[in-house]
């Protein structure tokens, strides 16, 4: 084999590498699987302990909700939707970065996606699991949920209302989860075979062997596999847009001031990608440090993600500006009051201003290269964006509901300990699943990185005559 290119970059104009150092298939294989073979360190156990305690809180708060009923939540009339739906929308949104990275960036042939897609796809799955808990619990009696949600010939003799966005949501979210899971697993199969074949102990070899399904890298299989993978990506691409669009319909098709607006679908989708990338960055900055992934998740990857956050953050900001403009321009007094009085100066105005700060001001630091490459700054900014996006959903849902048309209907809202525990609990569930994922499955798509290395090396040799410095 010819000597590998010392620095492998995808772009002749940009010398910064996507894969750092001299790598071969063997070194990539060993370095990316190393964190699976290495025993769990003290740091992992410490984090896992914290995550498990938060998961315990989830078990307690779910049990209490089921025992007492959803009266134990802070919801009231008119604030009939509160933490349950805020958290649902927040978690679903976080999942969108995974699908965007794995599907849209694959179709656009963005090579930098390869090092982070596995990571982000896993995040999608776990975020959707957390999200699904909330509407199920919000039904009050989750064991009856199938009656109300699924179109099957039940004893009620009545069918779901297909003109309701809530029914669309059931289909959208369950499709989203299923397709994300299949896509994730399909990408994982060759890596599981690599795990099977590099394992030292027969037990691990056996267990990974089961999940690898007897994969033998056959050329006949690859020929169909490539198509299967790219078509799943193609099918996931409209899902990125449709899932959050349908979630936004839950609000936009009603007449409530603050909800009844046509800008919701694109603005929800941009917000979802914005928060999803923030969550990926929040996890990947520490993970690349501790899992030894710095040679495949390079400064360039972080910078690209910062640029996506800046772009989607600007779209979200535009959405806010447009909402306010239309509220003024339409001349509707209720809309005007909602945006200019209630949100900015009402009892929940602190959350509004926190949202403006986190979502509109914070991403502006990504305009400068220094802002995009200073990892502690990027990490803190990403966390603030997560907070900001949660505040946005709070504003849309609670702030709009608590001051609607009739002053006699106005009511304040405060979450109870159950609401807060459920939210913290789902963060625990997400973290637990994610830490288990980091322990047992390669966090980076090993096969795809090898393929990228092969491709870049060949491209480097092919174009060698023209742009070799």
């Amino acid at each position: 084999m010819a000597a590998p290119h010392p620095v492998i970059s995808s772009d002749p104009l940009d010398p910064r590498p996507l894969i750092e150092g001299k790598q071969t298939d063997q070194t990539i294989n060993d370095s990316l699987l190393e964190h699976v073979w290495r025993g769990a360190g003290k740091g992992w156990w410490a984090l896992f302990g914290i995550a498990l305690s938060a998961l315990g809180l989830l078990v307690i708060s779910i049990s209490y909700t089921l025992y007492k009923g959803i009266g134990s939540w802070g919801n009231n009339i008119p604030v009939g939707w509160a933490f349950g739906i805020i958290n649902f929308v927040w978690w679903i949104g976080i999942g969108h970065a995974g699908t965007l990275i794995s599907a849209i960036l694959l179709l656009l042939q963005q090579k930098w996606r390869t090092s982070i897609n596995r990571f982000a796809e896993a995040m999608t799955l776990f975020a959707v699991i957390c999200a699904l808990l909330f509407p199920l619990l919000h039904t009050g009696r989750p064991w009856f949920a199938a009656y109300w949600l699924m179109p099957y010939p039940s004893v009620q003799g009545i069918w779901p209302q297909f003109k309701s966005p809530l029914t669309w949501d059931v289909f959208a979210v369950s499709t989203y989860f299923t397709i994300s899971l299949l896509f994730w697993f399909l990408g994982l199969v060759p890596d599981l075979a690599a795990l099977r074949d590099s394992s030292k102990s027969p037990t691990k070899r056996f267990i990974y062997g089961i999940f690898a399904l007897g994969w033998r890298g056959s050329g006949r299989h690859w020929a169909e596999y490539k198509w299967s993978y790219v078509l799943l990506a193609g099918l996931s691409t409209p899902l990125v847009l449709s899932v959050h669009t349908i979630v936004s319909f839950d609000f936009a098709t009603s007449v409530l001031p603050g909800w009844h607006t046509t800008i919701f679908p694109p603005y929800f989708v941009a917000g979802a990608v914005f928060s999803g990338f923030a969550m990926v960055v929040t996890w990947i900055i520490p993970a690349r440090e501790f899992l030894g992934l710095k040679h495949v998740v390079t400064a360039k990857h972080i910078e690209m993600m910062c640029k996506v956050m800046l772009a989607t953050g600007m779209i979200v900001t535009y959405g806010y500006v447009m909402e306010h403009f239309i509220a003024w321009y339409s001349g509707d007094p209720y809309e005007f009051a909602q945006f200019f009085l209630v949100r900015q100066r009402g009892p929940m105005s602190r959350i509004y201003w926190l949202m403006v700060f986190c979502n509109c001001v914070v991403p502006q630091i990504f305009w400068t290269k220094r802002g995009r490459t200073n990892l502690p700054v990027v990490w803190i900014a990403a966390i603030l964006i997560n907070v900001g996006m949660w505040c946005e959903r709070f504003n849309i849902i609670v702030t709009s509901l608590h001051r609607d048309f009739l002053p006699s209907k106005w009511e304040n809202y405060a979450p109870t300990w159950v609401d807060i525990s459920l939210f913290i609990g789902t963060i625990g569930l997400f973290s637990t699943l994610f830490l288990l994922f980091l322990k047992f499955v390669p966090a980076v798509a090993v096969t795809e990185v090898k393929e990228l290395r092969h491709e870049l090396e060949h491209a480097g040799h092919g174009a060698g005559g023209e742009n070799h410095a």
Binding site: M1, T24, D25, Q26, N29, P151, G157, I158, W159, P160, Q161, F162, K163, T167, W168, F171, A172, S174, T175, T178, I179, L182, F183, L186, P190, A194, R196, D197, S198, G209, I210, L213, G214, W215, R216, G217, S218, G219, R220, H221, W222, A223, E224, Y225, K226, W227, S228, L231, L232, L235, S236, P238, S242, I246, F249, T447, K450, E451, H454, E455
Partner: protein, 188 residues
């Protein structure tokens, strides 16, 4: 016992000649050569898909795209028919005097089910076409084959029943394989 099968059970072990190649390009060239030498049942085994593999193996058009298209169309039809049957034929409900059959509100679910069935067809269709899961394959008998998922480029040729192993081995060697192993299916 190993390599046996002459116990009158009627078990004829499948035999494979497996050759390892030094580079991806050598494998592609070698695959062509081995096929041109008249061998059937040629396959490659690589850690990642190689450009030009389909050509070298002489594979036809992939079947997955057609299957996925059919799956997606089936999903859309099933969804629309389901909504139509439930809301128009079986149990129409008059909500605010909206028509029972309202195409715009049917679109989201029609779309979602098209994606769902297209996607599941892509996934399960691939595994069905590939004949996976298949935990045992004779090729796993070769010790060096564990490199196939890590960094090795392999070629395998199934020796036809009653055919000569030596001829196939010579072909694979002639095509540029650096190492060769011949394996036989074990009887279980």
């Amino acid at each position: 016992m190993s390599g046996g099968g002459e116990h009158g059970s009627g078990f004829v072990p499948r035999r494979f000649v497996i050759g390892q190649f030094a580079t991806a390009d050598a494998l592609l060239a070698g695959t062509r050569k081995v096929r041109e030498a008249g061998n059937k049942g040629v396959d490659t085994h690589t850690p990642y898909p190689l450009h030009g593999l389909e050509d070298a193996l002489g594979l036809g058009r992939p079947k997955i795209p057609t299957l996925v298209l059919l799956g997606a169309i089936a999903g859309a039809c099933i969804a629309y028919a389901m909504i139509y049957y439930m809301n128009v034929i079986d149990f129409p409900i008059n909500v605010a005097n909206r028509p029972p059959h309202s195409p715009p509100t049917n679109l989201p679910i029609t779309f979602e089910l098209a994606v769902l069935l297209g996607g599941t067809t892509s996934f399960f269709g691939f595994f069905a076409l590939a004949g996976l899961p298949k935990p045992y394959h004779p090729i796993f008998e070769a010790e060096f084959f564990t490199r196939a998922s890590i960094d090795g480029f392999f070629l395998s040729v199934e020796v036809p029943a009653g055919g000569s192993v030596e001829k196939v081995e010579a072909d694979v060697k002639g095509a540029g394989a650096v190492e060769i192993q011949t394996v036989a299916e074990s009887e279980r």
